[in-house]
């Protein structure tokens, strides 16, 4: 018998290119803030789920065992979950298993990332996600999969780079109001178009930055949540699926694995018409086109129709479907796992009406956060309600 699970607290650190704090210290700061906001102390926490991207960033093997004291996990059942860039949203899904199953009444979910240790650039770690025999000898960089996918997406639906750039303009603009943001800025489509080409069609301002940071949420069973707060945010649907690493064998114009993950979460949450029922969304936006790609996979836009929705202003904070009101990865920053968790925090604050300057105009009661990862193969989705 599955139990209802609520989010009762959230915490986040600054997101910056390089932070002084160690992974343990970042984890502590985000976790402490989440505990304080829920009115709890560590002794109230029964289990801990953590998320972090490849150990290659830190050069520290068994990162999950290394940072766990910062996450308050000593002597508690702790698990580290990992699905590449999808990890940040997968971390509270892991927490959901702990609480929905009836095993525990409280679970601290923490996502931490330091990309800055790797030299000369964090991108270098991504070289090793490609097939070691058939792909790495070609001189791969992670940007390739994005530029190749962006091109295919544009080709299939006749989408212009200028339409895609609207996402970068919106998200970096939204991030100006996020107190932790690394790259909030008021920019124009022209700025994006004129920015340096990196992997054409991808240009500098189409991409989120490498970052350090951490974020955390506290999950509680219905019984405990109702004692703690009169504003629980319910984690009513979770979904995740993966495809194989044979990314060159699939349709790059449409993320089917995201569709499958979304449908799993919608079914669990009883969502029949996502476009009508989801009132605020935080899809994964490491690149501007990716937000559009994911809106389509999430069934929040028809295939090839997300760019028009964006150009028409539907996805602005005062629009009919506000998308990435936080500022997203493009604006707030992209400390991989922590970036996905930042989206969970944002929907939590939005649904409680606590997002301050970032608060969406409509009275949003149902929201969604989604992340994506690895070789165009991971979809992680959560549906939340207030």
């Amino acid at each position: 018998m599955r139990r209802r699970v609520a989010i009762v607290g959230a915490g986040i650190t600054l997101f910056r290119r390089r932070m002084l704090e160690s992974p343990k210290e970042l984890s502590f700061e985000a976790s402490k803030m989440a505990l304080d906001s829920a009115g709890l102390t560590l002794k109230d926490i029964e289990s801990v789920v953590s998320g972090s991207a490849p150990d290659a960033f830190d050069g520290v093997h068994m990162k999950g065992e290394y940072y766990l004291d910062g996450m308050g996990a000593i002597g508690k059942p702790h698990q580290r979950v990992y699905v590449g860039g999808g990890t940040g949203v997968f971390t509270p899904i892991g927490g959901w298993w702990n609480v929905a199953s009836g095993l525990y009444d409280t679970c601290l979910c923490v996502a931490e990332e330091k990309m800055s240790p790797l030299h000369p650039h964090p991108q270098y770690a991504f070289w090793s996600i490609f097939d070691q025999i058939l792909e790495r000898p070609l001189g791969t960089t992670l940007l390739w999969i994005f530029s190749l996918e962006m091109r295919r997406y544009m080709h299939k639906y006749g989408i212009k780079e200028e339409e895609i750039a609207e996402v970068a303009v919106k998200n970096k603009g939204n991030a100006v109001d996020h107190p932790c943001a690394q790259l909030g800025a008021k920019i124009t489509v022209e700025d994006v178009m004129r920015s340096e080409p990196i992997c054409e069609p991808v240009k500098r301002l189409d991409v989120s930055p490498p970052s350090d940071g951490a974020a955390a949420v506290i999950l509680a069973s219905e019984k405990v949540a109702k004692k703690l707060t009169d504003q629980p945010v319910w984690l009513d649907g979770v979904g995740w699926t993966l495809d194989s690493t044979h990314w060159t064998n699939r349709d790059l114009a449409y993320p089917e694995y995201v569709e499958k993950a979304a449908k799993m979460a919608y079914k669990m949450a009883g969502i029949k018409n996502p476009r009508k029922e989801i009132q605020v969304a935080e899809p994964y936006d490491p690149f501007d086109y990716k937000e559009l790609h994911h809106l389509e996979g999430l069934q929040l836009a028809g295939k090839g129709e997300a760019p028009k929705m964006t150009v028409d202003g539907v996805t602005q904070r005062d629009g009919d479907l506000p998308v990435c009101p936080s500022g997203g990865l493009l604006g707030v920053g992209n400390p991989i796992a922590a970036a996905g968790m930042m989206k969970i925090c944002e929907i939590f604050w939005q649904l409680r009406g606590e997002a301050g300057k970032r608060q969406v105009k409509k009275d949003a009661r149902t929201g969604l956060a989604q992340a994506w990862g690895d070789l165009m193969q991971v979809g992680t989705v959560t549906v939340m309600r207030s």
């Binding site: 932070m19 704090e21 700061e29 190749l148 295919r152 080409p197 990196i198 992997c199």
Partner: protein, 170 residues
């Protein structure tokens, strides 16, 4: 609670801070070496590349011809049945002009990369490879291309035995 919290934790370090000696910076270089067994399917694939041929595996249940080859069909979840030679020509499914290398440093000459759907394999069976002998501005999705092989004595059983794909003469 977002609007109720006024102070968010964390201290940024800039490259200038490090240069000025404000913070310690501890360097370490990790240089492991690996020797990978290529596996049953890819060993044969590489052996055939050395001969200037591209080989695929066929699944008799779904009739798909798979490149890169695998010894099992991941859709039917059964062993694949036979080796099939496919062509060394194909179609550009998508492409990119890469101005950066593996470690994100700027390249002097951009690298042209593409997913190439291989002729003779099932639709959409692409491989990642480089393009050559073409102006970047002339590349299009849907362009027909063919493999340019290294000379036989230079081949070593590697994906790089194909130097790159170039536009087919029509």
């Amino acid at each position: 609670m977002s609007q109720k919290i006024t102070n968010y934790p964390g201290h940024e370090i800039t490259p200038d801070d490090v240069k000025a000696g404000k913070y310690l910076d501890i360097f370490y270089k990790f240089e492991p070496k690996y020797s990978w067994a290529a596996g049953v399917a890819i060993s044969r694939f590489l052996t055939e590349l050395k001969e200037g041929k591209i080989f695929a595996r066929k699944c008799h249940k779904c009739e798909r011809i798979l490149v890169p080859p695998r010894m099992y069909c991941e859709q039917c979840y059964r062993p694949t049945d036979e080796w099939v030679q496919v062509k060394d020509t194909g179609t550009v499914n998508t492409f990119s002009i890469s101005h950066v290398g593996t470690d994100a440093r700027r390249l002097k000459t951009p690298l042209l990369v593409a997913v190439i759907d291989i002729d003779g394999a099932s639709p959409g069976m692409g491989i990642l490879h480089n393009l050559g002998e073409v102006e970047p501005t002339k590349i299009t999705v849907g362009m027909k291309v063919q493999a340019v092989w290294k000379r036989p004595e230079e081949r070593e059983g590697s994906i790089m035995d194909i130097r790159y794909f170039r536009p087919m003469e029509s």
